[in-house]
């Protein structure tokens, strides 16, 4: 029973990490209809930046916020410099462009920071809480992770729902033509969407870095599982990203714990297919009928 509890808690904390990568992917998909394979590389770079700041200043929180800020800038930059150039073309080209960016970023990170992974400090203790005399697999730092992801999700939710910019972004995502008629500069909103998405991604990076360390390839699995989570939840739904991440995190924790770690990726495949067979556009996207 205590094992089940441990696996569940482990599932929740890894699930929240997946959720935050999924969130980043969903934001970009909603804004520009592109699956951003470079997300893993972008958050890797911002995490390296954060680590450099932390090592220089000794302040975790400064590094934390620098990561988020550099994510914002990086996302906007990528959209302006690269994505603009492939947006109008065949949809697969954008995918290839983000893949190429991922390779480029991993190469650059390897050249600058070397392949050797580094330690990234957690802001809070990683010693698990004690419940009923049993030290569980859930630490103050895990709690921080959950709170931070939910906080950013809520923050984004608030931004979307409560602010003018959010309203403009949603209008641009749902109906770009109508948004333009109402004076929304849709191009800027796309850039801002990429910036926000990269920020959500960089959050995932700093949150997960203490547990997977910082290296050019250390975040690769994160992208795969984050994308899987986003697809499970439905690529148009931020809420779906959170729920998808949690579902995936929990299921994979149980698969790894009860069936063996070899089956984790296969488990992800099975879960994904099961969900998509029931709902071909994910849990939280309503399937639209095709037009004749």
């Amino acid at each position: 029973m205590s094992r089940f509890l441990d696996l569940t808690l482990n599932g929740v904390s890894t699930g929240m990490i997946y959720a935050s990568v999924a969130l980043a992917l969903v934001l970009i998909w909603r804004a520009t209809r592109i699956v951003n394979f470079a997300q893993g590389g972008m958050l890797m770079v911002t995490t390296f930046v954060a680590l450099a700041v932390i090592n220089k200043t000794g302040s975790y929180w400064l590094g934390f916020f620098v990561a988020l800020a550099s994510g914002l800038i990086f996302g906007a930059l990528v959209e302006r410099v690269l994505i603009r150039r492939v947006e109008g073309g065949p949809p697969l080209n954008a995918v290839i462009a983000t893949l190429a960016l991922l390779i480029l970023l991993q190469g650059a990170a390897g050249a600058i920071w070397s392949a050797t992974p580094r330690s990234f400090p957690p802001p809070f203790s990683i010693r698990g809480y004690v419940i009923n005399g049993h030290r569980v697999l859930f630490s103050p730092n895990d709690l921080f992770t959950v709170i931070a992801v939910l906080g950013v999700a809520l923050g984004l939710f608030g931004l979307f729902k409560r602010t003018d910019v959010g309203l403009r972004m949603r209008a641009s995502a749902f109906a770009p033509g109508i948004a333009r008629l109402e004076g929304v500069r849709v191009g800027r909103m796309l850039t801002f969407g990429w910036a926000l998405a990269a920020m959500a991604g960089s959050l995932a990076g700093v949150l997960v870095a203490p547990a997977v360390f910082v290296g050019p390839n250390n975040f690769d699995p994160l992208l795969v599982f984050g994308f899987t989570a986003a697809v499970i939840g439905g690529l148009d739904s931020p809420l779906g990203a959170i729920v998808g991440g949690l579902i995936l995190g929990l299921c994979l924790s149980y698969v790894s714990g009860y069936l063996g770690s070899a089956l984790v990726t296969l488990g992800a495949l099975v879960i994904l297919i099961a969900v998509l067979m029931a709902r071909p556009s994910g849990l939280f996207t309503s399937t639209r009928t095709r037009s004749v």
Binding site: W29, V35, F37, L82, R85, V86, G89, P90, P91, L92, N93, V95, I96, A97, L99, A100, L101, L102, I103, L104, L105, Q106, G107, A108, G110, A111, S114, A115, V224, F227, T228, A230, V231, L235, G260, A262, L263, V264, T265, L266, G267, A268, L269, V270, L272, I273, L276, M277, P280, S281, G282, R290, S291, V292
Partner: protein, 380 residues
Amino acid sequence: MSVGAKPRQPPAQPTAGTGAAPPPWWRRPRLPQQTLARSILLALVFGVVLYIVSELFGPFNDLRLATGAYYFAALAGLTIVTGLNGQISLGHGALMMVGAYTTALLIGREGWALAPALVASALTTGAVGALLGGVAARLRGPYLAGATLAFAVGLPALAYQYPNTFGGANGLEINPPTPPSALGANFPLERWQAWIACFGALIVYVLLANLLHGRSGRAFRAVRDDEVAAQIAGLNVGRTQVAAFVVSAACAGLGGGLLAMVDSLAAPGAFTLTLSLALITGVVVGGLGSLAGAVWGAIVLVMLPVWTGDIAGAFSLPTQIQSNLPLILYGLILIGVIVAVPEGIQGALRAGASAAERRLGGRGHKLASENLTNAAQKEG
């Protein structure tokens, strides 16, 4: 308030009959009308070309030729499903893995000869493709991408889960094929492997060309262009999509089998997500939707790492930078190509060819050049 132009309809009647001037001699090779005869002839031409190329090459370039040939088989498969049928697949690396393991198991464990083992690999992978295609036919766009990506990541787990059959992380090794003694004792193994791989690729090319220019290829492309119109025209969209996946998977399976033969192995480390992503990159950069594009894609996949390595080798930089420079160049070149020639290499060549044709052709060949443009589009 002013009133616009009065209705005046230009006669839009098309000219009756074919009307096209006969194409100039240089673009009408006199070839047999029967597909079968033409296929054989083409295969012979290609075969001779490849034979000459392989003779010119040293053993290592022969190996590159063989590598290019198995990449081509997989890329041609991906061309069918993604280029012609419009279904994105990020899972063809895993399909190659199915083919490679089938070949390795049949040769290594069951003692089969190479040829039947390769055929069985194509068939087995085709069957797996039917399953995958059944799922894929229900999914669209990024959801299909996600499902196939999960397939690419998930399938290698089977190798770890059943180490007794699949050899775990180490995978399986097989003996390379032995060149027949008739070729002489010093006949290089790599050339023999190149011949086999090219023969396989040639079969894929000819069969797919037959398929694409016949009913099935039309159906694939029609479903890609407009699913509703295809249904109205009597095509079973779901079945066509599954069929495309089956054909595509069979090609990838053969490609995987050839990989197993060329590299003498089947191991999970050779079939990671990176391979699947490299394949989709290859078809897009080569030119989506034509077999010629798949040829270019194969050349890119084989040669680009070589070129980036050579360029990087020309510098003398600190180890850390030197090691990563090829990756950086690879990424930069890919981005450059995607931005500069969004239609891929084959697309750019066609555009260039028809532009040159127009300039050279003059007025007498106006219709002919029009034909070329159309033909070029048709190939896509």
